[in-house]
Symmetry: C2
Subunit: 345 residues, 2 copies
DNA sequence: TTGTAGGCGTTATCAC
DNA sequence: GTGATAACGCCTACAA
């Protein structure tokens, strides 16, 4: 092996004694359109195989203004929910010839903005984004530049950006209702990032369930500020410290639930005997926790597949999706972290 | 706002009535080198800010043969270990101006090969890879093309590719020794992908620990073929079905341990009372499992930081790292999944 | 059926 | 101090 240099079409052209255009046409499957002779085709293809030629997507991207690349902008790839999303997205994208450029925003607006620039500078064809907070200028900027963008999980309802998300309201409503049906009246809500749509919707579902069952909603029952274990832990401590401590806790995220469990463990409080717990979001460890956790499962795979499909179809057809909004159903997974306080009716 | 079009240097040049060269030089911080007048500089910079100019990395990449992009090729991004690696890598890379192109190989050689081509076609400057199996032609191909490459977690010892990994041998040795010290003699080993280095090393550590304690090693005690929950589950079933069933199980991966727990749960076997368990790899849920799992923790963050640093330094200096091999220490995290069979000496 | 030339946006080189 | 030009590798309208 002599060369350490990736062969270009020019190299092939020189070798077979033809022009670069012919090589390009053959290798792009346009031989028929140009009625290129069988012999020439064979010649070109053989040379390509022999040298292991593959097209330079950078050059092609510059020429075509299409890079076959999608930017994926998410808050925390180490969170099981988002890493599952990422896996499905990457897979779906690769099957259609797209590469995924990953950026982790750490739920920080500043980082989100920088990361977005990083992606735009690389001329990604489209974006899949789970934004930090409310509609922000930089996200809209991307849209204004006509970069196709689909929101995942978190979305804006005061804009016309397409999105795929979970029915967070219904999920939280179902979970809270379950707690109420089990006899709980004092139910704490451990929230995540307050500005994020999923959190708002979950909170709304929680409140609505209380209201529908004629239970007054106390503001002090809602605690927390971030989708993090430590935040769930601190929030749980605060709630359990209160005079009329809740008999049940609804955690708006899987990490939040984890923090709650740690707090309970530390206080010697048993779940569900002393405190009941439901966590939003399902994950492989939930059934093996102490106790097995009752959760609200999201259709992670469907979300990711649908969002990728919407975006890629958009990229290939040039037309924004007609069904702009997709809200997928959750499922209440009953396990063993909720106590029955009063006998069922 | 009139234009939906990302401004180019040409646009700026036209606006300020100067040549593209000047614009390029100012915006690349080479004003001093070319003694460009203060006034011109200000003019250019103002125009740039006004139009929100940012450089087109595709064009620049073509010209410079550097894309400021790193390919990350890992077996399973939904696995907590790898998603933690990915997060740290992405972070470190972005701080130095690099974007990460993510590919998930699903522990499939075919996919790995395709994904690698995808990355190479996009002219990534370097690669961070956790390969499927033994040194394979396509990985070596990348090296032959002088694309800097650092292996993470999984590596080859019959090549001179730099790598960062865990001391898997020692970790497994420590874990197995702990089981032995607790009085266990019949210890099963639930392995992952047999060809992968981490798995080989862990198996070797397990065997060595047995040997050092004069416990004969039975081949039938080693079960499993993939780093997956279902595989751990099936392997555990097989081991627990055997006539002289093990009193303890060592799972070579976190997902394997999860499968073991499910198998035990299903059989009504209690951990640690009926079977003891240690799992390689630590994760946030381990302390809250039933029972809290004794694990071998890997320094995930350090691995990822070191590997990124090695690669990026290599890219920027043009010189391969002098310290080619890095093996970081594990830590045995004692919890509650191992029973003491005989009183300590 | 094949070739030529221009350009995608940038930067390095050389000229003025 | 500034500008023109060529080139990175590819694609395509136009020419032959």
């Amino acid at each position: 092996m002599k060369s350490t240099h990736k062969p270009t079409m020019k190299d092939l052209a020189r070798e077979v004694g033809l022009s670069v255009s012919v090589v390009s046409r053959v290798l792009n499957g346009k031989a028929a359109d140009y009625r290129i002779s069988e012999q020439t085709q064979r010649l070109v293809r053989e040379a390509a195989t022999k040298h292991g030629f593959s097209v330079n997507q950078i050059a092609r991207g510059l020429r075509l203004q299409k890079t076959k690349t999608i930017g994926l902008l998410i808050p925390d790839i180490s969170n099981n929910f988002f890493s599952s999303i990422a896996r499905t997205v990457e897979n779906a994208a690769r099957r259609r010839g797209y590469a995924i450029v990953l950026c982790d925003t750490e739920d920080d607006e500043q980082v989100e903005q920088e990361a977005l620039s990083l992606l735009l500078d690389r001329s990604v064809d489209g974006l899949l984004v789970s934004p930090i907070g409310k509609a922000s200028a930089h996200i809209q900027g991307a849209c204004a530049r006509n970069v196709p963008l689909v929101l995942v999980d978190r979305f804006f309802d005061d804009h016309d950006i397409p999105y795929v998300t979970t029915n967070n309201f219904q999920g939280a409503y179902d979970g809270t209702s379950h707690l109420i049906n089990c006899g709980h009246r004092r139910i704490g809500f451990i929230q995540g990032l307050p500005d994020s749509k999923p959190n708002c919707e979950r909170l709304r579902g929680y409140r609505q369930a209380l209201r529908d069952h004629r239970i007054p909603v106390e503001d002090s029952w809602v605690q927390g500020a971030r989708f993090e274990e430590a935040d769930g832990y601190a929030s749980a401590q605060r709630l359990l410290d209160s005079l009329a401590a809740p008999t049940a806790l609804f955690a708006s995220s899987s990490l939040g639930a984890l923090g709650v469990m740690r707090a309970c463990l530390e206080r010697g409080l048993r779940i569900p005997d002393d405190v009941s717990l439901i966590g939003f979001d399902e994950y492989p460890y939930a059934p093996l926790l102490a106790p097995p956790l009752t959760t609200i499962a999201q259709p992670t795979r469907e979300i990711a597949e649908l969002a990728s499909r919407m975006l890629i179809d958009w990229l290939e057809t040039g037309e924004a999706p007609t069904d702009r909004v997709h809200v997928l159903d959750t499922e209440l997974v009953l396990r063993n972290s909720v106590a029955q306080l009063t006998p069922p009716a």
